[in-house]
């Protein structure tokens, strides 16, 4: 059994070297996404925008499907290699952001209405583009729903690297402002931060990130990739930095395990990554509960030693002269019960 597992493990690394284009790109991309997802996720969680991630991923899917359709239509022409579905996904995602903002201004009291409208519009467009692009693209589009490690090509790899670099530079430059805006919008407004512009930039960054991580994790699971590691880390984090670092570690562990097991078990990468993330979350929850129980037990023991020690109570009862007879009876009864 052990030997068999070891051979699979070895086979993975042999394949890694042999087909490095197929495996190395996705692993590098996976590690980058694993680092960025919880960082962006933290911002989303603090600003309560979890649903926007899902909406944009669906709209971004429409862009990618449109890219696949274009590539299909332009096959055997000079433009064949110029179409990058991911780049189109990014463009659609940004359009989706602007659409959400526009729709929000129409419904002052039902601002969340804009999300399902844009989401269903994106899903509908995706369906049409998939159908128009014919059978040849069905493999690509189905893997876009749940993610696959084997579809990252060189041009997509470069797009992802460049976009990740832009996101990292953005985070480094605006780090303080982003935190101020996330935690206290009023203070951000009056202390000199252009809140509207920064909010728009954050949403665009979110849109870009969703498009680039779509291939690895899949449209349906992107928001959980950003949110579940953060959900785990806020249960154990002690400071903002500490929480972010812990969430990046959780995310990287689940991404690497997800990629490895999706290779060995031939299951979609995104599904496995999310499953590992949720397993970590469960462990953290159990750990937290155990600590809580342990602390409760300790305080209970402490209470017991103070209040239920029969001798102490007797002494106390005798010492307190003002206590009335009824109260004395009650204390003595309790005392007897405890002795029993």
């Amino acid at each position: 059994m052990f030997n068999q597992n070891f051979l699979v493990f070895l086979g993975f690394f042999q394949d890694l070297i042999k087909y490095k284009n197929i495996y190395v790109y996705p692993i590098i991309v996976g590690v980058i996404i694993g680092c960025l997802a919880p960082l962006i996720g933290s911002v989303i969680v603090i600003r309560r925008l979890s649903f926007i991630a899902d909406t944009l991923s669906h709209f971004s899917l429409a862009g990618v499907c449109f890219g696949v359709l274009l590539a299909h239509q332009l096959a055997d022409t000079v433009f064949e290699n110029t179409i990058s579905p991911i780049a189109l996904g990014i463009v659609f995602s940004v359009i989706g952001t602007l659409l959400i903002e526009k729709l929000r201004s129409f419904y002052k009291n039902y601002k969340e209405l804009s999300m399902p409208i844009v989401m269903s519009f994106g899903a509908a467009l995706s369906g049409i583009f998939i159908a128009l692009s014919g059978d040849s693209s069905s493999n690509i589009t189905s893997s876009l729903l749940f993610g696959s490690i084997s579809i990252v090509e060189l041009k997509d790899f470069i797009v992802i690297l460049v976009m990740s670099l832009i996101i990292i530079i953005f985070i480094v430059i605006f780090y303080k402002k982003i935190i101020t805006l996330c935690f206290d919008e009023t203070f951000a407004k009056v202390s000199g931060i252009n809140v509207k512009l920064l909010q728009l930039l954050i949403t665009i960054i979110l849109a870009v990130f969703i498009s680039i991580s779509m291939e690895i994790v899949g449209v349906l699971l992107i928001s959980s990739l950003m949110i579940v590691p953060v959900a785990s880390s806020i249960l154990v984090g002690k400071s903002f930095k500490n929480t972010c670092i812990i969430s990046v570690i959780f995310s990287e562990v689940s991404i690497l395990l997800g990629i490895y097991f999706s290779y060995t078990l031939s299951v979609p990468t995104g599904s496995l990554i999310v499953i590992f993330n949720i397993v970590i979350l469960l462990f953290i929850m159990i750990y937290r509960n155990l600590i809580k129980c342990f602390k409760k037990k300790n305080t209970k023991q402490l209470d017991y030693s103070i209040t239920i020690d029969p001798n102490t109570i007797n002494e106390n009862v005798d010492e307190v002269t003002e206590i009335n007879e009824e109260d004395k009876e009650i204390v003595k009864e309790e005392n007897l019960e405890n002795k029993e």
């Binding site: 603090i46 009023t186 202390s191 002690k238």
Partner: protein, 218 residues
């Protein structure tokens, strides 16, 4: 920072809160606003900070209509109850460092932290702080942006006497540095000798604006 309020009126729906309010203060002045609950003290501040929309021509900062100011610079604001996101772990140090734009913690930073006695819980998660400790943290944060206008809404509520005295010393120093200060308070004894102007708002939307020294009511 000079502030000129020109015939400011504001209402929530049918209910008028501020009615034809007019006064002006100069750079380095200390304005105290008093009045009962619901008399419009915080509403006035929100109008001033553009958290409520008001028509043009009602409030000027340094002779510029606030509606024409694209974004505010260096206004330190300590609200009565900060709408802060408390659920995500963040420490006192991290909150202060985000407000402070310089990379190194110089003497100014350290003096603010120590004068408000924040050292003891400097590395604590803010979830573990009491109301008074949080209030001191938010005052420190407002001071760290080196404000030209400092607005304090009931800053002494929940703070022990020692820290109230420290806050008084800080305000005294800021007044010497010609920083405009607006203080909303129920405690009229606090920092009484620093007042330049007193604005008293009534529940029935009347107001009195007194300049200390002149004792000339408007």
């Amino acid at each position: 920072m000079r502030i000129k309020v020109n015939d400011l009126s504001f209402s929530y729906g049918q209910k008028t809160i501020l009615n034809h309010l007019s006064f002006s203060i100069n750079t380095g002045d200390f304005l105290t606003i008093t009045g009962k609950n619901g008399s419009g003290k915080s509403t006035f501040i929100k109008c001033l900070l553009k958290l409520h929309k008001i028509p043009n021509g009602m409030i000027y900062m340094d002779d510029v209509d606030i509606n024409e100011i694209k974004k505010y610079h260096n206004i330190g604001y300590v609200p009565q109850k900060a709408e802060f996101n408390y659920e995500f772990p963040i420490t006192v140090k991290e909150i202060l460092s985000t407000a402070y734009q310089q990379r190194t913690y110089d003497q100014f930073y350290k003096s603010i932290v120590s004068s408000l006695n924040l050292n003891k819980f400097y590395n604590e998660n803010i979830n573990n702080l009491s109301g008074g400790q949080l209030q001191r943290l938010f005052i420190a944060r407002a001071l760290l942006i080196k404000p030209r206008l400092l607005i304090l809404d009931e800053p002494t509520v929940g703070i022990d006497q020692e820290n109230v005295n420290n806050l008084y010393q800080i305000l005294k120093q800021l007044k010497n540095e010609k920083i405009t200060i607006i203080l909303i308070t129920h405690d009229q004894e606090f920092a009484k000798d620093l007042y330049d102007h007193l604005l008293h708002l009534d529940e029935d939307t009347n107001y009195t604006f007194t300049t200390i020294g002149d004792d000339k009511n408007v």
